[in-house]
Amino acid sequence: MTFIISLVIILFSVSWFIYAKSNFKTVFFTELFRGMLLTQKVAHRRKDTIQYPEEKLPRSNRFRGLLALRRYPNGEERCIGCKLCEVTCPALAITIETQPRDDGTRRTTRFDIDMFKCINCGLCEQACPVDSIVSTPEEHYVVTQRGQNIMTKDKLLALGEAIEPRLAHDRKLIHEGDG
């Protein structure tokens, strides 16, 4: 009896072995284990997570984020209300009204950018003859109330003032062909 049982077991083992040898992968799940090994390996690598907001992805100085209006170093706003950005904007996001200012210069009385419409294509910056409207590296902006999507002239100028050093630096780099 024991003999027969042993024989059955041995026979079973041999046939199993022969089958397993020809179908090694199938039987022993090797490709599955390879995959599991990889994931295990990756678990020990350095992580790619960026701990926003403490760290951020590096931003190219060509980055096209929020738009801003710049001023000249003497405090005069650059914008002369030529409306080139308005006409070139493919999304019709810019609305400008102009009037002669008291000193007779052409100035905007209204300069609204609808950030919902803006597609950040950068054409306005390319079109501006006085480097007034610029794409800033500012990519983080939120809208919590109706109407906040409209960047008014004041907001645009304030943003431009706030990051003017960076803007000037980027423009210098680009000018030198280095940006």
């Binding site: 002369i80 030529c82 006409v87 009204e97 009037q99």
Partner: protein, 815 residues
């Protein structure tokens, strides 16, 4: 205005490899334009003379090395013109380069940017790359007045503006001084631009040197929407494009500018300043936005329902208490056919006949006898161009219909003789063959003298009745000369504003009709307002033909004021200025129980006399139809949203009619209303102008007796920038000169027994009870026996009838 008169001898030549045919004397550019071959140009303009000073149109001819200016070079048989060859291209590029050398880098702030010939041609024909490194010329700008702004650094010296002044407008405001690099375009006398068509230089200037000052820096051509429309300030109805801008002013659609629309039969490519800039009044602070009703001394803003209900109650109570004849309607002559029709229908339904649009006229008998018959012919500018003689009767056509003035000047340059009978020796911009300056009291007499002269020459067989009336009038040498012209030529007798608002307009009209009936001269009344002709044609007025025999009559505008009514309905008028007798009108309105004003604008005076104000759509805001002086019916659509809560006037009438429970006012839109107007549904004026004018109306027995029993008559001109409510509110057009200043001929002063008082004297002018004091100037252009004192509303004191008798009171010190 080509100097070269094309004769009809055909010449064929090769243009860009294609054989084309022109006429001898034509220039290359004319043929090329006809053939659709574009040759760039700056100085050449088809309506101006050839200057050939920009050199942009250089083309290669006969494979020569030297290129010729196509605007000046005449075509010849078998010549070969090449507009595409490398030589042509090179010369174009070189010219372009030179033109741009001194041009400032102004595109971003220049109003011309986007519609600038210089930009377009630089793109199309320039090199695209600059080589010029040197300094640029800078020119100091000059103040050209409130309408045109000058940035002369941008000027490329094409001299189009100069040629416009000398050739088209006849008022050479601008000229070129200096030569070469130092050449400058400026106004010689530093007076700015003073002509009534000065705005056209804005269109003509191919660069941004001359731009519109009210429009300055306010928009770009590309962001405007272009609408075809008609201007509303004279009977020509110049064709215009109105440019609107979505969310243009304070987030609302606004009219940004008005430019001419080419129409060869009316305004060609020109536009008067009045038509061009009047849009500025649309945003005036006087604009009425809500219905308002008087609350004692103060005004209350109410909704439409309240206001209209109140109006209907007032009307009903007046009808009940005093009868419908105690209602009077005064409407603007610019009212559209639709509005006029529905207003008239409403009043007829109420049983009222007192309605009139001829506010400026005192004597309207001649028109009232010709209901449904136009008392005149239509004007055809084509005929005007070819006519031999034009007589201006009491018309300062330059101001009253500036574009007609331009056309008349063009005709006069071609040989038309212009004669004038006016109370003022006006500053004509053309040669006036014969000018008669007579005061109001002599006006009829002179025309009578002309008739007598005609009779003496045998041109006319006077009936006994006429003979009886002309018995005391003798012909003079002047009237003889006039009569000769009238007999020998065909042309027009143009009755202007003065003639129509003369206290004896009927007499003037009858005499002119008489002349017209026996000569080749066609009688045309240059009606005031936009749509007088149309309103007359649909029968708006006190006289209404009930059937072919019976006529029901009401009161004309003067009578309505003369015999005050209980309720006045005003539409787009300010009788304190518009009416023939402002003082009387104001008194009547103040006395009236109720004054309902359907109006776009309010004025301080209106706030005093009116009781209910209903805001109506202003120009560009309503749809309608007008008939102009050439007999065209111009139908147009509103192009701008209504201002505030204002409504189209026809809708106000319709709702009012519904509230008054009148039958037959079920119009849902304007097309249904139009279908009801025979004139519009037939689209033809001919039927209504059929019929003869009765030339034997009741005239005074002797025309000579018509002299008003006074030594002085007033010339109460309504300034051409004052003539309707919109223009009045266009600030840039209102000049200091429009202040009230009385003028008088020095001889008249002497005849009155005073010395020439000089220029700084303040005198009192008196008409009946009304006295005003104002500075008096002596001016030799004023007819003797007349005092020039324009109609302007100035506070409480106002003069009376425009052309009535006047007294002049020098203060004691001066005597």
């Amino acid at each position: 205005m080509s100097e070269v008169v094309a004769t009809k001898q055909s010449v064929s030549f090769i243009l860009d490899g294609k054989e084309v045919t022109g006429y001898r004397g034509e220039t290359i550019i004319q043929v090329a334009d006809r053939e659709g071959v574009y040759i760039p140009r700056f100085c050449y303009h088809e309506r101006l003379s050839v200057a050939a000073n920009c050199r942009m149109c250089l083309v290669q001819v006969n494979d020569g090395k030297k290129t010729l200016p196509a605007c000046h070079a005449q075509i010849s048989q078998d010549m070969v013109v090449n507009t595409q060859s490398s030589t042509t291209r090179q010369s174009q590029q070189s010219v372009m380069e030179f033109l741009l050398i001194n041009h400032p880098l102004d595109c971003p702030i220049c109003d011309q940017g986007g519609q600038c010939d210089l930009q377009d041609l630089a793109m199309g024909f320039g090199k695209g790359v600059s080589r010029y490194e040197d300094t640029k010329r800078v020119v100091k700008d000059e103040d050209l007045g409130p309408l045109v702004s000058a940035d002369m650094t941008r000027c490329i010296h094409c001299t189009r503006c100069v040629r416009f002044g000398t050739e088209i407008s006849g008022i050479p405001d601008l000229g070129a001084l200096g030569r070469g690099e130092d050449m400058r375009i400026l106004s010689y006398l530093k007076t700015g631009l003073n002509s009534e068509v000065s705005g056209n230089v804005i269109d003509l200037c191919p660069v941004g040197a001359l731009t519109s000052k009210p429009h300055r820096y306010r928009g770009r051509s590309w962001s405007f929407t272009n609408h075809a429309y008609y201007s509303a300030h004279d009977c020509l109805q110049s064709h215009v494009y109105v440019h609107t801008y979505k969310n243009g002013i304070d987030g609302q659609d606004a009219v940004m500018r008005v430019v001419p629309r080419q129409c060869d039969s009316i305004n060609q490519i020109w536009l008067s300043d009045r038509d061009r800039f009047s849009y500025l009044g649309l945003q005036h602070r006087d604009r009425l936005t809500h219905p308002m009703i008087r609350d004692g001394k103060s005004w209350r803003v109410v909704d439409w329902e309240t206001a209209l209900t109140l109006v209907s109650e007032k009307i009903q109570s007046v009808i009940k208490d005093h009868g419908p004849e105690q209602i009077g309607a005064l409407i603007s002559p610019s009212t559209s056919l639709e509005e006029g029709f529905i207003g008239q229908k409403l009043l007829h339904t109420l049983g009222c006949r007192n309605m009139d649009y001829r506010l400026h006229q005192r004597d309207t008998d001649y028109m009232d006898s010709a209901v449904h018959t136009l008392p005149q012919e239509f004007l055809s500018f084509e005929q005007l161009d070819n006519s031999q003689c034009v007589v201006l009767v009491g018309s300062y056509i330059r101001h009253e219909q500036p574009i007609a003035g331009l056309r008349l000047r063009a005709a006069s340059l071609k040989g038309t003789r212009v004669l004038s009978i006016n109370p003022i020796a006006h500053a004509w911009n053309f040669h006036c063959e014969e000018e008669v300056v007579v005061a109001g009291q002599d006006f009829v007499q002179f025309l009578g003298a002309c008739v007598v002269s005609l009779a003496n020459f045998g041109a006319i067989e006077l009936s006994d009745r006429w003979r009886e009336r002309l018995i005391h009038i003798d012909s003079s040498t002047q009237s003889d000369r006039f009569a000769k012209y009238l007999m020998q030529s065909d042309g027009y007798l143009l009755l202007g504003q003065y003639a129509q608002s003369h206290p004896h307009a009927s007499a003037i009209y009858k005499l002119c009709s008489l002349i017209s009936s026996v000569t080749q001269m066609r009688l045309v009344m240059m009606t005031p307002g936009t749509n007088s002709t149309g309103l007359h044609a649909i029968g708006y007025g006190p006289c209404h033909r009930v059937d072919s025999v019976n006529m029901s009559t009401g009161e004309s505008s003067y009578q309505m004021i003369d015999r005050p009514k209980q309720l006045y309905l005003l539409q787009q008028v300010e009788p304190e200025i518009d009416h023939y007798d402002p003082a009387l009108a104001r008194a009547a309105l103040t006395r009236a129980q109720t004054v309902v004003a359907i109006t776009s604008f309010t004025s301080p005076e209106m706030l005093e006399y009116a009781d209910i104000l209903l805001p109506a759509a202003a120009w560009t805001e309503f749809s309608g139809s007008w008939v102009n002086i050439t007999g065209e019916i111009n139908t147009f659509q509103a192009i701008k949203p209504l201002h505030g809560q204002s409504k189209s006037a026809w809708k106000i009438y319709r709702v009012l009619a519904n509230l008054l429970k009148c039958e037959g006012f079920t119009y849902h839109d304007i097309s249904e209303l139009r279908a009801d107007i025979p004139l519009l549904s037939s689209g033809c004026l001919d039927e209504s102008i059929d019929g003869e004018v009765d030339l034997s109306p009741p005239l005074p027995r002797q025309l000579a007796d018509q002299v008003v029993g006074s030594e002085l008559t007033r010339i109460g001109e309504l300034g051409h920038y004052q003539m309707d409510t919109l223009v009045r509110r266009c600030d840039p057009l209102q000049r200091p000169a429009d202040k009230v200043i009385a003028k008088i001929h020095p001889d008249t002063v002497r005849r009155l027994g005073f010395d020439d008082p000089g220029n700084d004297v303040v005198v009192s002018l008196k008409q009946g009870q009304n006295v005003i004091s104002c500075p008096l100037l002596t001016d030799k252009t004023i007819a003797k026996g007349a005092v020039y004192c324009p109609v302007i509303c100035h506070g409480d004191s106002q003069l009376s009838g425009r052309n009535d008798a006047i007294e002049i009171l020098f203060s004691e010190d001066d005597q």
